[in-house]
């Protein structure tokens, strides 16, 4: 077993275990802390896949911002004197949910491993427009792909994403504002 496989298996086991803790814990603050482990381990998977920029963004946005946001929401919605803060649904509903999610997972794994989709040949290229020769540095390559005005790039989706973020921020302020 080479080093990459070893790292992958360690990260994968910790990742799945932390995700199970997030789902299974009765105390929701512990769930939120296990969520940090999930995000950090996913960042390790991204590093393993040569996606350095997304690994850093994952740490910054998920492990930093989103977790803090969730912890603040937990703090503001704490119900005094309640021991089980993270209640589950009824046992029947839990069994149904377990069956549903297992079936979905088996379907995805089937499609990815043994179905004919997994073995089919890659599609023929149908790309329009010139592609700049991208550097091997991941951050520079992503920067060119997101902003380049002359070559094939994702400028328009990027601008739309910025508008989405702006609307979300303004909407969050409006929704959570105290009414006079």
């Amino acid at each position: 077993m080479d080093l990459a496989s070893l790292i992958f298996w360690i990260i994968a086991v910790v990742l799945v275990a932390a995700a199970l803790v997030v789902v299974g814990q009765r105390n929701i603050v512990h769930s939120a802390l296990a969520l940090v482990v999930v995000f950090a381990m996913a960042s390790g998977i991204f590093l393993l896949l040569n996606a350095e920029f997304i690994a850093i963004v994952q740490i910054l946005i998920y492990a930093g911002a989103v977790t803090i946001l969730i912890l603040f929401a937990l703090m503001l919605t704490r119900i005094a004197g309640q021991r089980v803060t993270n209640p589950n649904a009824r046992p029947l509903a839990m069994a149904v949910a377990l069956v549903v999610s297992t079936l979905v997972g088996l379907g995805i794994i089937f499609a990815a491993t043994v179905s004919q989709f997994a073995q089919s040949a890659p599609a023929a290229p149908l790309l329009q427009g010139t592609v700049c020769s991208l550097p091997s540095n991941n951050v520079i390559a992503i920067g060119q792909l997101l902003y380049s005005p002359s070559c094939y790039s994702y400028v328009l989706p990027f601008e739309i994403a910025t508008v989405v973020l702006l609307v979300a921020i303004v909407g969050a302020i409006v929704i959570s504002r105290e009414e006079e």
């Binding site: 799945v16 969520l35 896949l49 969730i70 649904a89 997972g105 491993t113 959570s176």
Partner: protein, 107 residues
């Protein structure tokens, strides 16, 4: 035994299912949001794995999976901010975050 695309896709599928189970069973709205974040992360892992194992010539340079993952992270951040604002607003009105009791839209 080297790493293949299947390793990462199966890892993503397992993680997605854990998140799906949590989103279906939890009663606390914040816990449902956390499960949805796990599902989004699973999708990101799958997309970046596809990007890494893609060797079709013009597409391999485009890092399409990584670009998609960036947009998913953007939308997930916006979604988290909005959902938590809504949860806090609902808590202020109803003193609960139990999704079984939040039934203002139920007729």
């Amino acid at each position: 035994m080297g790493l293949t695309l299947t390793h990462f896709v199966v890892l993503g599928a397992v993680l997605f299912c854990i998140g799906l189970y949590g989103a279906l069973t939890k009663r606390n709205a914040v816990a449902i949001l956390m499960s949805i974040e796990i599902m989004l992360n699973a999708v990101n892992i799958t997309l970046i794995a596809f990007s890494f194992f893609n060797h079709v010539k013009p597409y391999a340079n485009l890092l399409t999976g990584q670009i998609f993952a960036i947009f998913i992270i953007t939308v997930a951040a916006a979604e988290a901010a909005l959902a938590l604002a809504m949860i806090i607003a609902i808590y202020r009105k109803r003193q609960t975050v139990d999704v079984g009791e939040i039934d203002m839209l139920k007729w």
